[in-house]
Amino acid sequence: MNIVIIGNGVAGITCAQVARQRDADARITVVSGETDYFFSRTALMYSYMDLMSRRDLEPMERSVYRKQRIDLVRDWVVDMDASASTVKLGSGSTLPYDKLVFAVGASPNMFPWKGADQIKDGKVHFVSMQDLDDCERLTKTSKQAVVVGGGLIGIELVECLLHHGVKTTFLIREPYYWPMALGREEADYVTEHMRHHGVDVRLEEEMTQIQVDAAGRVSGVVTNTGETLPCQMLGIAAGVKPNVERIKAFADAPELGRGIKVGPTLETNLPGVFACGDCAEIHYPGQERPLTELIWYSAKRQGALVGGNLFGDAAEYAPPLFFNSSKFFEVEYTTVGSVMDAPDNAPTLYRKLPGKYMSQRIVHDGERVIGFNMLGSRWNHEILERWIHERRSAEWVEKNLRSAQYDVEFGRAPLHKHDVQAMPLNKEWP
């Protein structure tokens, strides 16, 4: 069998490795225009901050590809011919396939801000290896920066810029940081933490216009308050979207929506053509809204599923209970279950440890626990998941919370010293 995978991110490479486990003889080719080797996108910030080299970002030794006979091709796929089962590369050559996998990931959102079309330089995203190149090049000539977008990539970019001594303003459109995931109380002290690190955080402020200098380099942004913020670097981190722009230009292309439309087995409308990871828009029969999961863990899971489905498994993708984790400067964050998709004003038990950037929030529906948002200390999400599955009551969970703690030895967060309070979930986003 001849398998061609477009994209060498975590979905594509996981898919290739699972496929190799299934079939020792299949020909497996991974095409990427971004980098020669799979790298960890999530670690871009550590390379930017000189904590790792570029090479360290690669999760596997390069010899692994040779040992597993995964052929890597550095090129962009520019077209596909579904009837002939070939894809065309930027170099002009064609690759035949029996099975084709789109694992092309996501790209940053860009909105038609006033002045955006004048920019020749100075605007950065923080998603790809090329973005890291841009960031590093521009940092050398930047004293001030503005980062737009109150999410995870935004705060990472802000931390990196600050590390390099660039004075940074963080524009957050919403009334508090990351309302998609955090309650107001948590967001407020994460904001305080950012300010403590010297970030100029602006809540409920939006960019209305981008200014450029004579050479077309970003020179400042105007906000909705009328203020002009001078800057030589503008970071746009306003979310990401499935990366389908290039595919739209294909003569034959799988059916596209916001992403590449697939059924529960992650197969597109073209037989033998699959999509997985950030680019996949999964349609379940009988469900109105499709599922698009733009996170690392899902990409890995979907890649593994497609790796088996290439061989006729027809396994359906069912996302497990949601979990995620992150880090805001030094504040670690773990979430499990329903927090952001809990109903408005859902009852929660909330505990903030005074003087520390540390809190726990247990979301419930009056009878049973449905989600957790934990900041500033470490939690074993496997235990928290189990309690949700076991339909434990919020009071029971609060009493047993200690057994889900995952802090370092000697460093267990002192929960017992502080009481929890009942507090409805504050959801201030549209």
């Binding site: 390379s47 000189d50 899902s298 984790s325 992150s326």
Partner: protein, 398 residues
């Protein structure tokens, strides 16, 4: 990307095998040659090259020591006092900095404090206090096979009973019991002087250890070879002084035994442990000796495989960023385990805890597995999928 100013250049250069790192390596090497180049020692001819340039002699370091450590009685002070003093200063200052750097991590604070205490008390003060009271200068923090002269029959015969008891109880009972209960970390990164210096003064270079799978293969061969040699050499010390064994100078047996003993002392004890282990910090990372050659690490590493210690990995939470592997001083590719959801015990792991510290997702945890572990999952919960549809995760997620 390094920081743009001069300090940024220097920091990057010295931490990443730049010019300044090589200069530091050269300086440390010369320092060790001078320290180990004592009269009659194997290093003396090389040391004399440098003494020739400086117009000093191979006994000068003892004089320097008496000048610099003027606050101690002269008869107690020689070059080894100076070295021990500098070593302790390096552990204290480096340790202070490490405690500040990881002040949010109680494991690092406790561990670093203990390692500083052990160096200052057992590695420096107590041996000198014993010497002051004309007692044998015993190092309580070293066990077999690092100190096998303590096991010689002649040594046993000439030392007080409580010291002999400590020697045997320490090596034969304390070491295995502690290792099985807590892993080799109780020694390698809580007690040992080599590990103490590596985790304090050596902190800026910990990431330089090579992570290649080739280096892992090499390490397994080299470290166990040294362990085997240390067993042989111990026998060479004990056998000749056993009752009934009469070794005569001039015989082949005598020549072989003395050659093995001095070869081990020169290559393993002096060059690998004493000199290379530390001088290589800026080039090869902090644990070159511990990882490739220390017989103690080899022995308790094997015990660790059967003990309770492990690094626990939280299922599916790893993002493969690689900070854990990068900052593992033993060159363990921690990421390979973490991204495969595999809790593990590696013989070489010294339990410094830095992988868990730098992990941005809190995936890793050092622990001693107990049978009553409250965190073990029960399968009933995992197969119960009644939560499905109750609060569905269908929708967009970023």
């Amino acid at each position: 990307m390094r920081r743009q100013n001069a300090a940024g250049w220097l920091l990057h250069d010295v931490k990443n095998r730049g010019v300044t790192a090589w200069l530091l390596f050269a300086a440390l090497t010369i320092f060790y040659i001078l320290i180990y180049g004592y009269r009659g020692g194997a290093m003396e001819p090389i040391a004399n090259v440098f003494h020739g340039l400086m117009g000093t002699t191979s006994s000068s370091p003892d004089q320097w020591a008496k000048t610099l450590i003027f606050f101690l009685p002269e008869n107690l002070v020689d070059r080894w006092t100076l070295y021990g003093f500098l070593y302790s200063v390096a552990v204290c200052t480096g340790g202070g900095w490490v405690i500040w750097k990881y002040r949010h991590n109680r494991y690092q604070i406790v561990r670093t404090s203990v390692v500083i205490f052990v160096q200052v008390a057992f590695g420096f003060s107590i041996p000198h206090i014993l010497k002051f009271f004309q007692q044998p200068d015993y190092y309580f923090s070293y066990f077999w096979p690092l100190k096998f002269e303590y096991f010689q029959p002649s040594y046993i015969a000439s030392h007080p009973g409580w010291l002999v008891f400590y020697t045997f109880a320490g090596s034969l009972v304390l070491v295995p019991v502690m290792t099985v209960l807590f892993g080799k970390r109780w020694y390698c990164s809580w007690v040992c002087g080599c590990g103490g210096l590596a985790n304090t003064f050596g902190e800026p270079w910990r990431h330089l250890s090579t992570k290649s799978s080739w280096s892992w293969k090499f390490e397994k061969v080299s470290i166990h070879t040294v362990l085997a040699l240390s067993v042989v050499t111990t026998a060479m010390w004990i056998v000749p002084s056993l009752p009934g064994v009469n070794l005569v100078e001039g015989t082949t047996a005598y020549a072989v035994i003395t050659w093995v003993r001095s070869a081990y002392a020169l290559v393993v004890v002096t060059v690998l442990c004493g000199m290379a282990g530390t001088a290589l910090y800026p080039i090869g990372g902090t644990r070159v000796w511990c990882r490739f050659a220390c017989p103690m690490a080899a022995m308790i590493g094997l015990m660790q495989k059967f003990g309770r210690y492990r690094i626990r990995v939280k299922r599916d939470m790893c993002i493969s960023c690689g900070m854990c592997s990068k900052y593992c001083e033993m060159g363990i590719d921690v990421r390979a385990y973490a991204q495969a959801n595999f809790s593990f015990t590696r013989a070489s792991c010294v339990g410094c805890g830095l992988c868990a510290e730098v992990c941005p997702r809190g995936v890793l945890r050092l622990e001693n597995v107990s049978r009553k572990d409250p965190q073990e999952l029960n399968m009933t919960a995992l197969v119960d999928e009644s939560w499905k549809g109750q609060h569905s995760s269908v929708g967009s997620r970023t």
